[in-house]
Symmetry: C2
Subunit: 172 residues, 2 copies
């Protein structure tokens, strides 16, 4: 059963958000998990501090969303961190490819970025058994996998396309 | 089939986000829908301009997420605006109640907020057949539904509890 839905409506600037800022903690105090959806008919750039959804979240809402004709943004408290596969299943089902920034331990195929100006050695070594499929750096480096210059984005994209997207459509 | 996943990893401050800012448009140019998940092991306050996920989104990613042990935030472009029921089914399944701010035309039970200092008359009238279930205002007003003082948040919460949450648990 989906949760019940009630809409707080008004003419402009009648204080819906101010009311919700008081109502959310009162409902939380009574032991309920509270979700808030803000309808933004005009579109929005990004949810940030001071905006309504931020105020809803700060007031204790468990999940807040802001929905416009072009974009939806959701912020949700979790009790247990979602794994990568769970995140992809929930939120990325329509994408052709998902690239994670980080998630060294998730066991997914990895491309390491190495800058010799930032560190003396990469994360991975030649010997270490791992899921490394390529290395991208400012200096040539041999980790028994294809190497790409960090500025050669076309070749990196081509490698990703060949490795993961051959049967996915796109324009190639 | 879920989309393929590839992880960009590195030691700290090696320029993963900078690389992604170039890689995302290159993959978009090739016709793919691209999702980006940033792993934030330290937690985050909110996604906002200048932060990594904002940079991913600006670079053209269709869906971006930032995941920490306590919170997940997702921003997704949509081709067609999601309806309230769809949003609730996708993102609010675990909540006890969902309150929308706005969505006058969604056909859900409505509570109108009216401030006599802001407007001369409320949205709803007595005669109009509608889904109004209560009115909340700074002056008593008769719309053939229960009226609550805008500052009496306890009574408003009680009304919502009685109307929607009687069998939902909570502490009552």
């Amino acid at each position: 059963m989906p949760p019940p839905i009630v809409s707080i409506v008004s003419k402009k600037n009648s204080g819906k958000t101010t009311l919700l800022e008081k109502l959310i903690p009162e409902l939380k105090r009574r032991g309920y998990r509270v979700g808030i959806i803000k309808h933004d008919t005009h579109g929005f750039d990004i949810d940030h501090e001071g905006k309504d959804s931020w105020r809803h979240k700060q007031a204790g809402a468990d999940t807040v969303a802001i929905s416009s004709p072009w974009k939806i943004s959701v912020i949700k408290d979790v009790v247990k961190e979602y794994g990568v596969d769970e995140i992809v299943a929930r939120y990325f089902a329509n994408e052709d490819i998902v690239i994670t920034e980080g998630y060294k331990k998730a066991g997914k195929p990895q491309i390491e970025v190495f800058r010799s100006t930032a560190h003396n050695s990469p994360l991975h070594t030649k010997e270490q058994p791992n899921t490394l499929i390529a290395v991208v750096s400012d200096v040539p480096i041999d980790l028994n996998v294809p190497w790409f210059d960090i500025n050669d984005v076309v070749s990196i994209a081509q490698f990703i396309e060949k490795t993961f997207l051959e049967n996915k459509g796109g324009y190639q």
